[in-house]
Amino acid sequence: MTAVARGFTTDVLDWAAWIAPVDLRQATPEQIAVLEESGPHARTSQYYHLLLHDAEALRQRSALFNAIMYGRKGLNRADRELGAAVESIANGCVYCTSVHARFYLQLAKRPDVIDALFRDGVAAPLPPRERAIADFAAALAETPPRAGATQVRTLRDQGLSDEEILDLADAVAMFAWANRLMLTLGEPTLGPAP
């Protein structure tokens, strides 16, 4: 029995589905093909096994995710990860936050930014560029989104081009989706005790 993870962390977490994933022994060839495409971690992930219930939707979703988070042009990857992490904190998604705050740390080497966000939430005091990104991401995360001209102007003042602002918006938009799957189809768990 693994414990449910509560509270934000950059530790590696696991995730357990609340409804039955696809039983791989009964999977169709298409489901197996999509699972293979999804990378080595997918083979043992309940999240991927669950989403395999609609294999084509999973295939397309992964393609969009990769285009948005790993696109070679435009906004640097650390800032995309920061946008994803802020959206995930705003929505209270402990699992998504653990992954993307960790990626941000690895890429940007800015533990102070993540510490502040974990301690004080998305409105935490941050250096100006990170603050501008967090403001836009948190505002776009809301339902209805309330990002406005002020946040866009602040990003431009920080030197972001419109292409880069769109890249940031796409990352936030992608995590509006990811957070909803992770939060409503299962829960984050602590890895099995060593």
């Binding site: 084509e56 042009k73 339902t143």
Partner: protein, 158 residues
Amino acid sequence: MSGALESSSVVGGDFIDSVLGLAPGSRLDALRRGRAEVRLRLQTNWTALFAPQDFGPLPAHERFAVAQRVAEISGAERLARRYAKLAPPAPQNARLDAILAHAETVGSAPHDASRAELVRLAGAGLSPATIVVLSQIVGFVATQVRVLAALALLGETS
């Protein structure tokens, strides 16, 4: 290759461009085309969820009704109207009510959606596969809402 016929259909054209009323050659059009893979994948995700080869466990009228509801609660009026226009007639019943109530929770306050919600959906006759498709649609529309909002903002504030 693509003629007028293809570009006039929702499946052949670009759904987001069409909702935005994006003029070919405009600044926003150029911005979107500068991210061709993202633009393409937003469209292929739309096709996978709203024009699949097989609607499987969630029929078309339920898919469009969910999309319309998520767009409405997200303040995306043009998007909601578009989904309403595309929706086949939907019989009102307890199953659709349960589906729309769940879509509303997940769309607006995903943190509040507990395990009990899924038990309720199972009680309304939804299989795990149905719940997954439903969740993908809510998530995808939540993405669309924010992509549209950002594009509209960038268009207004050049």
